[in-house]
Amino acid sequence: MIKVENLSKKFDGKLAVDQISFEVGVGETMVLLGTSGCGKTTTLRMINRLIEPDGGSVYIDQENVGGQQPELLRRRIGYVLQNHGLFPHYTVLENMSVVPKLLEWDKEKIRNRSMELLDKLKLDSTLGKQYPSALSGGQQQRVGLARALMADPPILLMDEPFGALDNITRADIRREFTELDELAKKTIILVTHDIQEAFEMGDKICLMDKGKVMQYGTPEELLFKPQSAFVASFLKEHKLLLELKFLKMGGHTAWELLEQLELGKLKEILFTLEG
């Protein structure tokens, strides 16, 4: 679906992104993980051409995006930003109508689709007439997602979508998002610096540092088969928690069992671990 080949970008002569390559299949969620300044956001923004690469190419459905008109390209790709980026002078409904209007949908279709998404994202339909400033942080982020989903784009780019939320709201909204059927079939590239978030949401994780890919693979691969000392040390602090979440026994993860206080089974797992 999305193929990135030897993508590079320099800022003031310094390489921000250095020869990055990866592929994301249809319906997969790929997480670009790394500390700030590692080049993950730059990589994301080169996919919808908000930044023009200095080298390499991006293909969507085997088509090079470099040859397409940027505006038309972006209308087919959902884009969710940290701090939501809602237009403060537009109501919730007007914010959601931006892309459909650019695509020249008729009013009826826009209305129906808006109502559908408000409902799916558990937003009260009366909020539709409110301005973003009247909404809570969580609500704003949901509207930001709803706006990106309006035209039902096959691809969604998300730049730290939960970054501006407090920890509790963030966990709640994240869970809601992962359960959302609208998102299940989409190809998603998500940028985050939050290791837990990456492991919870990603089908694949691309760990970056200083513009380079350190390891690209499934969460399990990163966790259990780190390719370098950097990867291992990057995950170290969260290792126990993540392992609990990814070790499975009888259809349950260790974390779920712990949560349900099924301590007997937990012992069994830990016992097998030691053995």
Binding site: N48, L50, P70, E71, L72, L73, R74, R75, Y79, L81, Q82, N83, H84, G85, L86, F87, P88, H89, Y90, T91, V98, V99, L102, Y131, R147, L157
Partner: protein, 522 residues
């Protein structure tokens, strides 16, 4: 009579004029604002896109802002003549800076995340500008427009100096004539206008962000609609046009007298003394008022019309001095009287010509004259006290002030401080009365009609000859203000009507009566 008239009565009596002046004022302000917005907003957007040009553009607009308004109006005259065109251009230039700067600040102040979101959703640059940046920058942009509008309501009063009309006609006429009703009749509507326009624009500024998009369409139409009120004084169909100073317009020995005594009916515009000669020379005006010894008369090849019915009283110049100063320094009177009888009309006109046309400094002209008459002495050591000499804003007064300065320094141990360029008769007189200056050269006719303005019955009782008028003002000034008129200098700088020499010869106009006949026949 005039004093007892209330402001309300004055405004009712002059309501027609007041109304048309107010409309002209609104039109000047709004028309210049429409042009300014049309240029400054796109320019502000452009420098917000290309930041490296923001410094030079804002700097240049800032320099325009620092040019004094009256100087800016003066600069325009050679290019655009007189009337509303240069006035609107000057106002336009003044409005540029606030509007450019606020457009720039507004656009650069839009949250970059919002712009990024707009771009990421696939909006084109134009769509981002129209749908996101301009609506969000709107309150700041409007604040700039408000500032510029209020400034321009004020500056537009100066348009009266270059025959563009507006409320400045009353204000400057009132100042020149010491008529506070007239000043207020211009100043109050101008202030109200500024407050009202500011209020209206503040309402526009506060419109909900959603309706802003509509306002963008309505606003220009509203402006243009208001501008259609505009009508201006101009030369229509070959008829003659007169340009008179605000002072002359309101004086008994000026336009009022011309209307009453000569039954003069001519289209008039109000214009400042500084530009009227040039305007007449260039054919923008046909008849102007002026002073018979003015050097510019010679410089611009104009002729005076004979005052055959004697409405202009004699205007012999003499120093007016505070009595207290004469008492304190008795030698001063003798020193000042050294100039008495030395300067006749021709001599004075020649000196004025040297300053106005040949651009010699008043100091040089004064010292050359004194040395030719063997009156120039090297300065004596000072320290005894300071004499403050005032003058009005024209060459002749500067020359006389310099001559007095040189005489005092040369023949007494007094020091001299000159305060030249005091706006008009009233300002000089008030400065003298309030002990801010010690003396200035005044004209007998002006003292009689502007300062003393006696009732018509008293006025008719004074013969219009040199000595009678001089004795009357000397007596009254002494009695009323403790001010002394010393001996007249010699020349008579009378008010006069003037025309281009060629036009006057072609039409065979030699006197004001000839002019009235000519106007009535055509």
């Amino acid at each position: 009579m005039e004093e007892s008239q209330s402001l309300g009565q004055f405004m009712v009596q002059q309501s027609g004029k007041l109304f048309s002046q107010t409309l002209t004022h609104i039109s000047l302000t709004l028309l210049s604002m429409v042009f300014a917005i049309a240029i400054a907003v796109p320019l502000g957007i452009w420098i917000a896109r290309r930041r490296r040009f923001s410094g030079p553009v804002l700097g240049f607009a800032g320099i325009l802002q620092t040019i004094p308004s009256i100087a800016l109006l003066g600069i325009m005259i050679p290019f655009l003549g007189i009337g509303p065109k240069p006035a609107i251009l000057a106002l336009f230039l003044y409005a540029l800076l606030p509007v450019i700067r606020n457009t720039y600040t507004g656009i650069t102040g839009v949250d970059p995340v919002v712009v990024d979101a707009a771009k990421g959703m696939g909006m084109s640059n134009w769509q981002i500008l129209i749908k996101v940046e301009l609506p969000l920058a709107f309150p700041v942009l409007m604040a700039g427009i408000r500032t510029a509008t209020v400034i321009n309501v004020g500056v537009a009063t100066l348009a009266a100096y270059i025959a563009a009309g507006g409320l400045g006609e009353f204000i400057f006429g009132g100042i020149a004539l010491n008529n506070s009703n007239m000043i207020l009749a211009g100043a109050i509507p101008a202030a109200l206008l500024a407050v009202m326009l500011d209020f209206l624009l503040s309402r526009v500024q506060q419109l909900s962000l959603k309706r802003v998009r509509m306002v963008y369409l309505i606003l220009p139409f509203l402006f243009v609609l208001l501008c259609s009120f505009y009508f201006l004084p101009s030369k229509i169909g070959g008829r003659m046009l007169a340009g008179f100073t605000p002072e002359f317009m309101g004086r008994q020995d000026g336009y009022i007298g011309l209307k009453e005594v000569y039954k003069l009916k001519i289209e008039t515009v109000v214009i400042s003394d500084a530009v009227k000669y040039k305007a007449a020379y260039e054919g923008k005006l046909d008849v102007i008022d002026g002073y018979s010894t003015d050097g510019r008369l010679k410089a611009f090849d104009l002729v005076t019309l004979k005052d055959d019915q004697h409405i202009f009283p004699p205007y012999y110049a003499a120093p007016v001095v505070r009595q207290a100063v004469l008492k304190k320094y008795p030698e001063l009177e003798m020193v000042l009287n050294k100039l008495s009888g030395l300067l006749n009309d021709e001599e004075m006109t020649r000196l004025n010509y040297d300053v106005d046309k040949l651009k010699q400094s008043p100091e040089k002209v004064a010292s050359d004259f004194l040395s030719a008459h063997h009156l120039l002495q090297p300065a004596l050591p000072g320290g005894k006290g300071i004499i403050r000499i005032g003058s009005k804003v024209f060459g002749e007064q500067y020359i006389l002030a310099q001559m007095y300065k040189m005489l005092i320094r040369g023949y007494s141990h007094l020091d001299v401080e000159t305060k030249t360029g005091l706006g008009g008769t009233q300002i000089c007189f008030d400065a003298l009365k309030n002990d801010q200056i010690d003396l200035y050269p005044e004209y007998t006719g002006t003292g009689l009609l502007v300062i003393l303005h006696p009732s018509p019955s008293v006025l008719n009782g004074i013969p219009k000859d040199k000595d009678a008028v001089f004795n009357y003002v000397k007596k009254e000034f002494n009695h009323q203000f403790n001010l002394t008129w010393l001996k007249p200098i010699g020349f008579n700088n009378s008010y006069a009507l003037m025309m281009r020499r060629k036009q006057a010869a072609n039409l065979n106009i030699k006197s004001i009566t000839d002019l009235v006949h000519h106007l009535n026949e055509n």
